[in-house]
Symmetry: C2
Subunit: 193 residues, 2 copies
C-alpha cells in the first residue's frame, strides 16, 4: 500500500494550522477554542483532540511549524546585520496576535511538563537553524569559536519578551540595533581582555 | 474623625496578601481562586472583590507590594557586585512559586489594558528603587552619565525570563555573573569607541 507524503494527514494538519492562524488574527487567544478551530478547518472536533490534547498544544505546534518553515534565516554577509535582521523579525512577530498567543501559551502551560518539553524541543529546532549565522561569523573571523552561541541568542532576544510582556513598555525600530551593538561590543571586549 | 494609618483597611490587605502567598506556596497559580484566598484570610469574598476585580490583579498587587517593601536594594560598593546581587535575587524569585505566578499573570492579562497599566506602574516603582545603583556607580565614575539605565536593566533581566519561561532551560548560579560581565563589558566598549 502506497502512503503519499502530503496525504490526508498532512492536509488535515495544514487546514487546522491555517484555521488557527485565521482565528488568531480575528480574536484574542483567550477567546480561541478547539471547537471554533475544528469548525473553521472543516474537521470533527474529536479528530482535533486525537492529535492535540489542548489548544495550548495546538497553538504551540502551529506557530513553531510556521516559524521553522517560513521565517527565513538571514544571510547578509556580516554577523551584525544578520542578528539585527533576526531581532527585527522577532520584534514584529511578538507584536502580532500570533506571537502574543505563543507567549500566552508559556504562562498557561508552565506546570505542564509535557508542553514545557515540547516548547524546549521546538526552541532547539529554531536555535539549530540560527546556529548557521554564528558558524558563518566564526568562519569569517568575526566571532571567537569559544563563544556560547545559545547564551548570546538568549541575551539578544530576552529584552524583547521583557519589554513587550513583562514591563509592558513599547519597543521602537532602533531597539534591535541597540541590542545587537551592546551584545557584540560586550563579546568583543570579553574576548580581548 | 481620626483615621489611623495601618487601620482596618491595612490589616485586611495584609491578611489577604499573606493568604495569597501561603496558598501560592501550596498550590499552582492555576488552582488559586478568590474564594480560597478569602477563606484563608478570614474575609468575605465580596469584600475581596470590592478591592481586586480578578485574581490576576490581586496576585500582581500582592507580589509587587512584597518586592517593593521587602526585597533589599544591594549596596556592595561596586556596580558589578550590586548588579550580580540583583540578578541573583531575581533568578531565585522567578524560580519560586510566587515568581512563577507573577509571570503567569503577564500572559493571562495581556489583553486587559488596565492590568497592563498596573504592571507598568509597578515596574516603574521597582526601577526607581534600583536607579540608586546606577546613580552611585555614576558618582563613583564607574558608569557614564549618558547611560540609559532602564535599557541596561532590561538587558540584564531579560534572559532570566527567556530561559526560565520561554525556552524552558535551566539556570545555574554562574548565570548572573556571566550576564553582568557581558553587559558591563559591552557598555564600557561602546563608551570607549
Amino acid at each position: 500500500m502506497r502512503r503519499r507524503p502530503g496525504g490526508r494527514s498532512a492536509r488535515v494538519q495544514a487546514a487546522v494550522f491555517e484555521a488557527t492562524f485565521q482565528l488568531l488574527e480575528e480574536r484574542e487567544y483567550e477567546r480561541l477554542s478547539m471547537a471554533s478551530i475544528a469548525e473553521r478547518a472543516g474537521v470533527h472536533e474529536t479528530s482535533l483532540y486525537r492529535r492535540w490534547k489542548t489548544k495550548e498544544q495546538l497553538v504551540l505546534d502551529a506557530v513553531n511549524h510556521r516559524v521553522v518553515q517560513e521565517v527565513p534565516v538571514p544571510d547578509t554577509g556580516a554577523l551584525r546585520s544578520d542578528l539585527i535582521a533576526v531581532l527585527q523579525s522577532l520584534q514584529l512577530f511578538l507584536q502580532s496576535r500570533v506571537g502574543q498567543a505563543l507567549f500566552q501559551t508559556a504562562g498557561a502551560t508552565l506546570h505542564l511538563p509535557e508542553l514545557c518539553a515540547l516548547r524546549q524541543e521546538r526552541w532547539g529546532q529554531r536555535r539549530a537553524q540560527l546556529q548557521i549565522l554564528f558558524d558563518r561569523a566564526i568562519a569569517r573571523g568575526e566571532l571567537s569559536p569559544q563563544v556560547d552561541c545559545q547564551f548570546l541568542l538568549e541575551m539578544l532576544s530576552g529584552i524583547m519578551y521583557m519589554r513587550l510582556f513583562v514591563v509592558n513598555e513599547p519597543v521602537d525600530e532602533m531597539l534591535p540595533k541597540r541590542v545587537v551593538d551592546l551584545i557584540l561590543a560586550g563579546q568583543t571586549n570579553l574576548i580581548a581582555n
